[in-house]
């Protein structure tokens, strides 16, 4: 099967006594196996609700979510779903449970009922995958934010998931921690073939994705490549988002009369474009 996740006509509403909000309505989305998808959207656009629907933490009010062809609606599939799709949240301190790093990472595999020697391997592999093997005997609260968040990711990896969904995993991190997490995510995607769904408010983090989805008011308003999405500056501003600083720079240089295209986003490519444009002027 080509799609690891299929969201079919999902409607989701919170049904509290004093709050009845429809967050998603008749929502459809397919995520390709092995892909790297970034989801953008302002606060309250439905991104986090979607994330929780993807591994069955929330069940749709109407419609269906299939993971590897298995429906999340049916309670008996719960373990199969959670094993395939892992969720990572914003605050690492809320996700770590044990007082030793390797115990924390072992929590998932233990719950899956694996034998101790299998767990040993799964934990070591997971810690190596996030470059935290040397810290396996440390205590999580002595680690930096980026390190803690990588331990949280290792805890998911240890269950050998097909897909990881990360909900603003870098919101609380310093620049180095952010860079660590983004490079870890990319590595897991390219080397281990794990499907990644990354929800973020940092436009720069979408630069290397295969696909960027923009959500507004519970709907998908754009779905394309990063270059395509970030060239549509007016749409992004309209839904309360922004473009990466590189795109803004190229766009404004173009407006100012420089002969330059705005279809790149990485720092290196942007510098090259500007370099070329300046040299072109001189010839």
């Amino acid at each position: 099967m080509n799609n690891i996740i299929e969201v079919k006509n999902v409607t989701f509403e919170y049904d509290d006594a004093d709050r009845k909000d429809i967050i998603l309505k008749d929502f459809c989305l397919d995520i390709k196996r092995g892909s790297f998808t970034v989801i953008l959207g302002h606060n309250g656009s439905g991104k986090s609700t979607l994330a929780k629907l993807l591994n069955g933490l929330y069940k749709p009010t109407e419609g269906n979510v299939f993971v590897d062809g298995i429906s999340t609606v049916d309670e008996k599939n719960e373990i199969e779903i959670k094993r395939r799709v892992g969720l990572v949240f914003q605050n690492p301190d809320n996700q770590l449970v044990a007082s030793i790093v390797e115990d924390d990472v072992a929590f998932g595999p233990e719950n899956l009922g694996h034998s101790p020697d299998v767990i040993r391997n799964e934990v070591d592999d997971a810690l190596k995958a996030v470059d935290m093997y040397d810290f396996r005997k440390s205590t999580p609260h002595r680690l930096s934010g980026g390190q803690k968040q990588r331990i949280a990711i290792a805890g998911i990896i240890a269950m050998k998931p097909d897909c990881i969904v990360l909900d603003e995993p870098t919101a609380m991190l310093d620049p180095k921690g952010r860079a660590e997490i983004i490079s870890t995510i990319k590595k897991l995607n390219s080397e281990k073939g794990i499907t990644v769904v990354l929800i973020t408010h940092f436009m720069e983090e979408a630069v290397d994705a295969d696909r960027v989805i923009v959500m507004d008011d519970g709907k998908i308003v754009a779905d394309s490549t990063p270059k395509d999405i970030f060239s549509n500056i007016s749409l992004l501003k309209q839904v309360g988002l922004d473009v990466p600083q590189t795109t803004e720079l190229l766009y404004r240089l173009k407006q100012g009369g420089m002969n330059i295209t705005t279809d790149v986003i990485s720092i290196e490519e942007s510098a090259q474009k500007i370099y070329d444009a300046i040299h072109l002027e001189e010839i």
């Binding site: 606060n43 914003q90 934010g145 991190l173 180095k176 720079l249 009369g257 420089m258 370099y275």
Partner: protein, 288 residues
């Protein structure tokens, strides 16, 4: 004359236990009235611990804090008055909303200052105009608001005390770009309106470039650099070694420089970069 002076501040956590460590080590600096100071540093560098001393929320293990030349602990009974002169907005302040209406939540600080009901009402209307909270929101429950709106109400609650110094611990964390821009504007407007001194902890170098006059860089509990934003962002390699970085637009300029284009080392905002690069074009072969 400096409004705030920190002298040899050290804070030791878990003193006399095997876990004893200094979160802040011998930090000294002084700030003039009306300055906007950005505080940057890796996670665990001591930023939050440092600012919680400035309004007496934490007590220094060693060293002292002078507000207008007076030690804030000189008269212990006065510490509440200090807290209304030095306002502190915590990380994720919206989690601390608790009243049943927005009005009562914003009123909480001013009420504790012993102000009259009329004065409190005036201040609430004033701060709402300043930060863009609509009057008809005042009767709503804060829990019915969106995340960005809750954050704004929580910040308004501190601003309504009209502190001379206001400190923000990661005020834009978790906000979308529009929310981020709104909060940055609120902070700017407040500091201009009341000629207030502002300290902001943030991991967002692009925002820092836009609003901070000076940057205070913390590294492993020590004050590594305290200088103008320009002079700090010029030290790009040193910042990277400390787990930090320069704004993205500055990284583009550094890459251009490596390619042999003569770019100055004081470009930190998109405006500055656009002005300079377009002037290159008009000036002809300045880099030939």
């Amino acid at each position: 004359m400096s409004i705030l002076e920190v002298k040899n501040l050290t804070h030791t956590y878990d003193g006399n236990t095997p876990f004893m460590h200094d979160a802040v080590k011998n930090v000294s600096f002084s700030i003039s009235k009306g300055e906007v100071i950005g505080i940057i540093g890796h996670t665990g560098s001591g930023k939050s611990t440092l600012v919680q001393h400035l309004n007496g929320l934490l007590k220094a293990t060693e060293g002292e804090i002078l507000l207008d030349g007076v030690n804030i602990w000189e008269n212990k009974k006065n510490i509440r008055a200090i807290r209304s002169r030095v306002g502190l907005v915590f990380q994720y302040p919206e989690y601390q909303l608790f009243e049943d209406t927005v009005y009562r939540d914003i009123a909480f600080g001013p009420k504790n200052m012993g102000l009259s009901d009329d004065e409190i009402a005036n201040r609430i209307y004033e701060v709402c105009d300043l930060v863009g909270i609509k009057r008809d929101y005042l009767d709503k429950s804060p829990f019915d608001l969106s995340g960005g709106e809750k954050r704004r109400v929580a910040i308004a609650g501190v601003m309504a005390m009209q502190p001379e110094i206001i400190i923000f611990d990661e005020p834009v964390a978790g906000l979308d770009p529009q929310g981020r821009a709104n909060v940055i504007k609120m902070i700017n407007d407040y500091s201009k309106r009341y000629n207030a001194t502002v300290l902001i902890i943030s991991h967002n170098m692009e925002d820092m470039a836009l609003i901070a006059d000076k940057l205070l860089v913390m590294n492993k509990g020590e004050l590594a650099i305290f200088d103008t934003t320009e002079n700090v962002f010029r030290q790009h390699e040193r910042l990277i070694r400390m787990g930090l970085n320069v704004p993205i637009v500055t990284q583009v300029m550094l890459s251009l420089k490596q390619k042999g284009i003569d770019v100055p080392d004081n470009i930190f905002t998109v405006d500055q970069a656009v002005d300079y690069l377009l002037s290159l074009k008009q000036g002809g072969n300045r880099n030939a």
